[in-house]
């Protein structure tokens, strides 16, 4: 049991990051009812932003974080206007293939512009190790965790306590009623999408010192993010948080017991089991999955 502190800490650190990725995804689905298959690509763009800022101007990723906010806000608005706006009212399949198309385009744009070479962001804190209890932590991971938690917490507070947040939650619950009450649903969608993109872009910047940067980097995270949000219930923020911890735990414990090779199988099997037995997730609405909600 000597490994327990390390496992717990690793789970928390990982869970925090997954939460930030998942929370944006679940927001987009919960409010727009769109499954964003391109979510991982925005993460990848965040990683590349951090990489180039570091490579060209030696900017620390945590400095880049500040820049990332307006940058991804703009990216969110742009992608919404160019791509998503037109398909909000379209059928599921149209939306799915729109975001799939976006994913393909972004991935390969990165490939063409920056090549498929593996890139690394190695600021001074990437190799700093902190010892806590019986666990060894990477400083970058701690900061990533802290920022992720702060961000997620801020977002949840925003959704719960501000007028804008309330308006968004109302739209998520009942689109038609919201329109009848004079809520500009178009704006709500745009905001939801943009916030979702900002979250995942920021997550990308935070992850850059910890993971390898390459065009397909988003893929591994997006599949994981989907396991998280389905587990927690698509559209539910609390669910995204709990789902993140559970998946992080499964991954950490799985890697420890079965080895890194098989841990991925674990959470995919978990995913399929959830989809078969409780597709609405822990907190989602029962039966949501049969309506395609």
């Amino acid at each position: 049991m000597a490994a327990l502190p390390q496992l717990v800490v690793s789970t928390l650190l990982l869970g925090g990051i997954y939460a930030l990725i998942a929370v944006g995804l679940t927001l987009i689905f919960g409010i727009m009812r769109v499954v964003n298959f391109a979510h991982g690509e925005f993460l990848m763009l965040g990683m590349y932003l951090a990489f180039w800022a570091f490579a060209l101007w030696h900017l620390d990723p945590y400095v880049v974080l500040v820049i990332a906010l307006p940058v991804f806000f703009a990216v969110g608005l742009l992608s919404y206007w160019l791509v998503m706006q037109g398909v909000i009212k379209a059928s599921h399949n149209v939306q799915i293939f729109t975001t799939v198309g976006l994913s393909i385009a972004l991935q390969n744009a990165a490939l063409v512009l920056w090549t498929g070479d593996y890139r690394f962001v190695r600021p001074w804190h990437a190799s700093e190790v902190v010892r806590l209890g019986g666990a060894a932590l990477n400083l970058s991971q701690i900061v990533a965790f802290a920022v992720a938690v702060a961000f997620t917490g801020g977002l949840m507070a925003f959704m719960k306590f501000t007028q804008a947040g309330r308006v968004m939650r109302a739209t998520a619950e009942d689109r038609e009623a919201a329109t009848l009450m004079g809520i500009d649903t178009e704006r709500v969608y745009r905001l939801a999408w943009t916030i979702g993109i900002v979250c995942v872009g920021v997550a990308g910047v935070l992850l850059s010192p910890v993971y390898t940067v390459y065009p397909q980097a988003g893929l591994q995270f997006v599949l994981l993010a989907y396991v998280v949000v389905v587990l927690g219930g698509l559209g539910d923020m609390r669910g995204a948080l709990f789902g993140s911890l559970i998946v992080a735990a499964v991954e950490t414990v799985g890697a420890y017991t079965l080895g890194i090779a098989w841990k991925e199988v674990l959470y995919f099997v978990l995913f399929i089991l959830v989809l078969v037995f409780r597709p609405a997730g822990l907190f989602g609405q029962r039966g949501a999955e049969t309506l395609g909600m």
Binding site: V35, V83, G86, V87, A90, S91, H92, N93, V94, I96, F97, T98, V100, G101, L102, S103, I104, A105, L106, Q107, N108, A109, L111, V112, T115, L219, L223, Y226, V227, V230, A261, W262, E264, V265, F268, V269, F271, I272, L275, V276, P279, E289, T290, L291, G292, M293
Partner: protein
């Protein structure tokens, strides 16, 4: 016969191509166009005709690819037996996916198909004893039809042409048969179809199982043609997306659509890969950027795909059922 004019022209051209040229590159392109077109047609059976959009069809492709390779490498059995085994296994896998399609709708189903293919990918890349793990399996070449060891590209061309024809006919069957019409009803509105006496759930599963078996056959042929089975490729989500992409851009729910899509996509990719790999390897992903954007644009503005767009241009007819037998996209 007029409605098959396009197919007759296309397949006819493919058939006579070897008479016009023996250029290996050109023949190779035709083989791949037919192959991907046929496999996308298999996807179309489930995705276009039954309306069950899956992004995990690589699962079946990979099963087909591995079945023949594994049987040949371990037990020296003919790849044709592998073909049969692959199809049988894929039917089982298809039944599982079919079960899921009745429990999950829309994006949830799509996610499940993606996860399914991923699980197979990981399993295949780790199962060293059987699949040689992440290194993949080089498919042994033994000359002869029974061993699917066809040396000449021309032989492969006619084999894939036959396969493509079978897939074309299967799709046409789904357009004119009783089952096909009932499936169209299920695709349009499952509740309404059930109210009319159509066993919607059962039909969906049958369509998916058919689609799975045919995709698997394609996987077997492909593996024998290319000569190497790499788990990270044959089970990849990129492949799954490609199958859907060909069909959607060409025209989902139409028999010729996947082939049209394949012509556009395969030839462009093949050409770019050939010309640019020496000059500017960095540009190799460009065609995919184009396809990504094309997909976004087409799915929104031209949901009937190229077939629909061409049909609108050349056949000025009032909107008829045949012209607009589109998947619910």
């Amino acid at each position: 016969m007029r409605r098959h004019a396009g197919a007759i022209v296309l397949f006819g051209l493919a058939a006579v191509a070897p008479l016009a040229t023996r250029d290996a590159y050109f023949l190779d392109t035709i083989v791949l166009i037919l192959m991907w077109g046929a496999i996308s047609s298999a996807w179309n059976v489930a995705g276009g005709y039954a309306g069950q959009v899956s992004l995990g069809h690589a699962a079946f492709f990979g099963i087909g690819a591995y079945s023949a390779a594994v049987l040949t490498v371990h037990w020296s059995l003919s790849p044709w037996i592998g073909l049969g085994l692959g199809m049988a296994l894929s039917v089982v896998a298809g039944l599982v996916i079919g079960y899921l399609s009745n429990r999950l709708r829309g994006p949830y189903f799509v996610l499940a198909t993606i996860a399914f293919a991923q699980v197979l990918l990981i399993a295949a890349s780790r199962w060293r004893e059987m699949t040689m793990g992440s290194e993949g399996i080089p498919v042994p070449f033994k000359q002869g039809f029974w061993t699917l060891g066809l040396a000449s590209k021309v032989s492969w061309l006619y084999l894939t042409l036959a396969f493509a024809l079978v897939l074309y006919l299967v799709q046409v069957y789904l357009e004119v048969s009783r089952m096909g019409y009932q499936l169209a009803g299920v695709r349009e509105d499952e509740d309404a179809a059930q109210a009319l006496g159509i066993p919607g759930r059962r039909l969906k599963v049958i369509a998916i199982a058919m689609s799975a078996a045919l995709t698997s056959a394609g996987g077997t042929f492909w593996a024998q043609y290319v000569g190497f089975v790499d788990p990270f490729y044959v089970f990849s989500i990129d492949l799954s997306v490609l199958f859907a992409l060909n069909a959607i851009i060409g025209g989902a729910g139409t028999a010729l659509g996947p082939f049209l899509g394949s012509i556009l996509i395969t030839s462009l990719e093949h050409y770019l890969r050939a010309t640019l790999s020496d000059i500017a390897p960095g540009l190799i992903g460009v065609h995919l950027i184009i396809y990504g954007c094309l997909l976004i644009v087409m799915v929104r503005f031209v949901p009937q795909g190229l077939i629909g767009a061409l049909g609108a241009l050349f056949i000025r007819r009032a909107r008829t059922a045949r012209g607009e037998r589109l998947a619910r996209t």
